[in-house]
Amino acid sequence: MIILNKKFNEIEKNISKIQKVKGRSLWHDARVRFFKNKAAVVSLTTLFLVLLFSFLGPIFAKWSNEEIDWSVLGDISTLGYPSIETGHYFGTDELGRDLFSRVIQGTKISLMVGIVGALIAVVVGTIYGATAGYFGGRIDSIMMRIVDILMSIPYMFVLILLLVIFGRSILMLFIGIGLVSWLDMARIVRGQTLSIKKKEYVEAAITIGVSHFTIIRRHIIPNLLGVVAVYATLLVPGMILTESFISFLGLGVQEPNTSWGALISEGAGTMRYGTLWQLLFPLFFFVISLFSFFFIGDGLRDALDPKDR
């Protein structure tokens, strides 16, 4: 009896020990895998630093982005170079404005366009794709045919058409980018939904009479989040590229606002006069941020995609 009791006690202890071990969720596993990926971690840090720069930079700036430094205005190429003494850490632009502050402003706007654009794409694309995939049949084929048609339109041209007609403003840029950016997302989400729909838990939900809307909200969308997260991080640089492209042409963000594309365009236009810093500083931030987004996206895909494990 005593021996048996002892045994039971031990078993009890063991059981309580086992129960103390935390369950490993998909997201926990993914996080561990993600942080093992060096490129992704470095990128995450870089991106964090860029964000920090755009928020804390103004504290260190001696000039605001709208002030004109009249003392260098006459001869930018010899006086407007980057220096700590004059307070123009990145030099000045063609109009004698402080490039450090301009780059901060551009970074903020470009990142905002990227993130907001991706957010619109995620929300609209996920709902659209999940609906099409879940209902299937005729609804699906009509909805996806619409996506096909919209996708084969050269959207950059339509976007510029929109900007010309309704005026060039950041709001219009958001609307225009939002209109076209969700298409890929909708396709990817639909494909995933088709496979999730056949899972037993969805079948179970249908049999106990859960409404379609609730099934999509509670069962389909949470299981899509992995794919959506990966694709969203890859969408952000895509949006930034689109915005920069349009701003490079002078059709996007308007003065006094600026963005990476607009700054690169300015720098590219004036580099013939020997003011190379006007091109290189914005280009540097543009390149490292895009790199970071791409590597984070890759890292997330490796972490969340069970196929490659």
Binding site: L161, V164, M271
Partner: protein, 309 residues
């Protein structure tokens, strides 16, 4: 096969019509007519001008005239800014230029992209492979509007080898930089796609069988592995084509090559509605036709597609 082609054409035609209708409605919902300016014209003059361009008719008649004009006469109407030139003149002047450097870029991107990808896959984990992967990763963040100033900086300002812009009837030294700037990022994407696709194919059973039979390696690669490898590459050609046509706007702007992109941006900056609309529609039709071709080629290579859909 014929069924497949007919089905695709039956999607392409309504797509083109929708594109035309969307841009037409967009143009007409623009605040103010094309002839409203800051100095208001006398009412009778405005009336006469509107009558000349047919703008006094109801909208559906205008739309009907516009669409039939495009379809039957390939006529995009007059330019609203240049009184002496029609949109057709602008296109006829700019299109050959765009076509020349565009098709070179396309050929170069596909040829070198595929070769690079195949070499990288055959010599996996060699220095050549790392070089090609490194190139394709970095070219992601070097879109045409970043490449163009960098190329000018190196080859025009530092080395002085190539002229920084102009066209001169398409002499070789004027074509080189536009082609490199336009093709680099697509070459990189194609190389990436080819590499991963080739690696997957090389690991499949039929290649192992071929190897077991003692077929020489180059023959396995060219007559067994290449065809399935190219499938994802072919489906990427559509987006690459759109991207390059869009990129040509930047090339025309930056290198002053005088292609249709230049007219597009000028039209956009001057609010020359009929020009941007005409170019948008033309490019839309080109894109849709090209996608149709790609689909047909794809179905021709891969019978699965032909019979599934």
């Amino acid at each position: 096969m014929i069924n497949f082609i007919l089905k695709r054409i039956s999607i392409a035609i309504p797509t083109i019509l929708i594109l035309i209708i969307i841009s037409f409605i967009l143009m007409h919902s623009a605040p103010g007519g094309p002839f409203t300016s800051e100095k208001p014209l006398p009412e009778q003059v405005l009336k006469n001008i509107n009558a000349k361009y047919g703008l006094d008719q109801p909208m559906y008649i205008q739309m009907y005239n516009y669409i039939t004009g495009i379809i039957f006469n390939f006529d995009f109407g007059p330019s609203f800014r240049y009184k002496d030139r029609s949109v057709n003149d602008l296109i006829a002047q700019g299109f050959p230029v765009t076509l020349k450097y565009g098709s070179w870029s396309f050929i170069i991107a596909v040829f070198f992209g595929v070769s690079l990808g195949v070499i990288a896959a055959i010599r996996q984990n060699s220095y050549l492979d790392y070089l090609s992967v490194g190139f394709s990763v970095s070219a992601q963040v070097l879109p045409n509007f970043v490449m163009a100033p960098i190329l000018v900086l190196i080859f025009t300002l530092w080395l002085g080898w190539l002229p920084g812009g102009g066209w001169e009837g398409g002499k070789i030294q004027f074509v080189i930089m536009p082609v490199i700037a336009l093709s680099t990022s697509y070459m990189a994407s194609i190389a990436r796609l080819t590499r991963s696709s080739m690696l997957e194919v090389l690991n499949s059973n039929f290649i192992r069988t071929a190897r077991a039979k003692g077929i020489p390696k180059y023959k396995i690669i060219f007559s067994h592995a290449l065809k399935p490898t190219l499938l994802p590459v072919i489906s990427y050609l559509g987006p690459a084509f759109v991207g390059m046509i869009t990129g040509s706007v930047v090339i025309d702007m930056y290198f002053s090559t005088g292609g249709i992109g230049l007219h597009f941006v000028n039209g956009a900056l001057n609010r020359d509605y009929s020009t941007i609309m005409g170019i948008t529609i033309l490019i839309g039709c080109l894109t849709i036709t090209f996608n149709l071709l790609v689909d047909i080629i794809y179905a021709w290579i891969d019978p699965k597609i032909r019979y599934d859909s």
